[in-house]
Symmetry: C2
Subunit: 341 residues, 2 copies
């Protein structure tokens, strides 16, 4: 049996029992956006790590070293954002194929350091080694959050509002544009491709949610809405209903879908790499929080409700109700980047 | 210009200025065995990470998944040991080629979890993704150490005793045996190959050094004695003299050298992957500490002295004095594993 037969999450379920927890300070281990460790009565340490592999997650032809460096950090910062934390330190491991120039690597670090500076993250080390084939990048990031304000996946409640902090599907559409040469005006293509190559971690949004006292649970949408909503549902023992008409879609994505005569719903539901936050908000606090977000310049959009009955349903604009399967991104079950272009 | 032209350490020197430190709590960033972050007046958080790449660091033909899993963790625990710390949590990122069986992966995690349990380390997560070619493993480990007892590289003093916590060169000789089919009795080959495939992190030795108050600086010998002693010398602004006759050599290595009629000095000085600790011990405290180590069942061997004059010299048994260049392991300057077998 291979990984493709059970997928990443099936595999995690199998190895989790092997990994014993040896300390009472561990609030959350495997299975959330970050590991959460109590370091004082007031503070939790957050730790997350993400591995990016050439030809699986990215192609060097698609982007310069600066945006790749920034993205390798951003995807980790997004995990800290999902816990409502403040990122602190980053550790960069990189396996470098012989053909890469020092100049390329310096620009990779410059791109990462610029994003790190923006959020006052210190890059403190890592490991540099050789690769005989693909470039491989692992970034680990630490963060801090207040004990009472750390957002987890497992604590959503029935009737909580499901809200997202940005539009969905842009990154998946951008990936499609990178893979296929489609005749699309620059005003449509540029923001979608940018959404894929240069995601912005929603750290300030995560901190606002954490401080509000109105948010019961959160996750970042990295694998896709269907998969990530399923993570929260599974861990909270809930189901959910989402409404197509409420899903926030960017102007560029709407234009692309119209131009190609395709339904953008698959990008929106299963696309992945959106790096917006999905939050479970107490229903009686939602309106006030959404107003506050608006004033502070953040987007917060209600897309549905958590339910006590297991299963996720999508109510389409037509009124049709479709069950949603967690079929977002899983590298073992989808073709890798280089095989599909 | 490529990485092979400047090596890993030349590259680190170039990117270090790009990486700004944004917090006053950071005791040590890039350039030590661990990053050291003050989390309270009494405690430092230690963080280290190591990347292992198939065909560069290991071949799957050489060892089972259990010892590979254990080694991927052990090399990080050795960094925590070098700072005198207690390891706490581990995070495992793995890029898996399609041909690997789930069974293999489970045994990989079992091997790692067994070593983790031995030192009460909790494996708390990481990232599992796909690789189109080589297996890639990144492990990040956190640890704790008391603020006054954290061992760094930069604080060795002139006349400090240079001591090591185990024998040198076994791992390099074991690698040689794995690469070449040499006719060697099992009693000679087995311990050397084991030293390479299953290193034991010297955590208890590191903690003893840290608590003794006698140790000014420490490092783990991962790149090789010449390189790692050079790191301490460079960061402490010192030189060193080491004595061939004092270098601890195992019986198996001595027998192998005799059998092959080779001088083992290159394995000892430049071999790498010994994962013993090298420490700078206050001269007036050394004897007492060595006695204490003996009683507690640890090896501590004086191999030379730090000097105020820059440069490392080796006094050979013949009396000849040779300058030692830092020519230990550097993946960018040596051939990779798969190219040399």
């Amino acid at each position: 049996m291979k990984l493709k037969d059970i997928g990443e999450f099936g595999f995690i379920d199998r190895i989790e029992p092997l990994c014993k927890v040896h300390s009472a300070n561990i609030v959350r281990g495997i299975g959330d956006d970050c590991a959460v460790i109590s370091v004082s009565p007031e503070l939790n340490l957050l730790i997350t790590t993400d591995l990016l592999v050439e030809r699986v997650h990215f192609l060097l032809d698609w982007q310069g070293p600066d945006t790749l460096g920034a993205k390798a950090l951003a995807v980790n910062l997004s995990d800290i954002a999902a816990c409502g934390g403040t990122p602190k330190e980053a550790f960069v491991s990189i396996a470098v194929p012989d053909h890469l120039e020092i100049n390329w690597l310096e620009n990779f670090y410059k791109g990462m350091a610029d994003l790190a500076d923006k959020f006052k993250v210190s890059i403190l080390g890592g490991d540099t080694t050789r690769s005989l084939t693909d470039l491989v990048i692992n970034v680990a990031v630490t963060g801090l959050s207040r004990s009472g304000e750390t957002l987890l996946r497992r604590s959503a409640q029935p009737r909580d509002v499901i809200a997202v902090t940005g539009s969905l599907g842009d990154s998946a559409a951008g990936l499609e544009l990178l893979r296929n040469s489609l005749e699309v005006p620059e005003t449509v293509a540029t923001p979608l491709i940018k959404a894929h190559l240069s995601p912005s971690p929603h750290l300030l949004q995560g901190q606002m949610l954490a401080k509000s006292g109105a948010c019961n649970a959160a996750i970042d949408i990295s694998d896709g809405l269907s998969s990530d909503l399923n993570h929260i549902c599974k861990q909270s023992g809930l189901g959910a209903t989402i409404f197509e008409e409420k899903l926030p879609i960017s102007k560029a994505l709407r234009q692309l879908a119209r131009r190609l005569s395709v339904d953008p719903i698959d990008w929106i539901i299963n696309g992945g790499e959106d790096y917006v936050l999905l939050a479970a908000i107490k229903p009686d606090k939602y309106e006030e929080l959404a107003q506050k977000a608006l004033i502070e310049g953040y987007q917060l959009t209600e897309i549905g409700r958590f339910e006590s009955t297991v299963g996720i349903n999508l109510v389409r604009v037509s009124g049709e109700i479709l069950p949603v399967m967690p079929s977002g991104w899983d590298h073992f079950r989808r073709k890798a980047t280089s095989e599909t272009i």
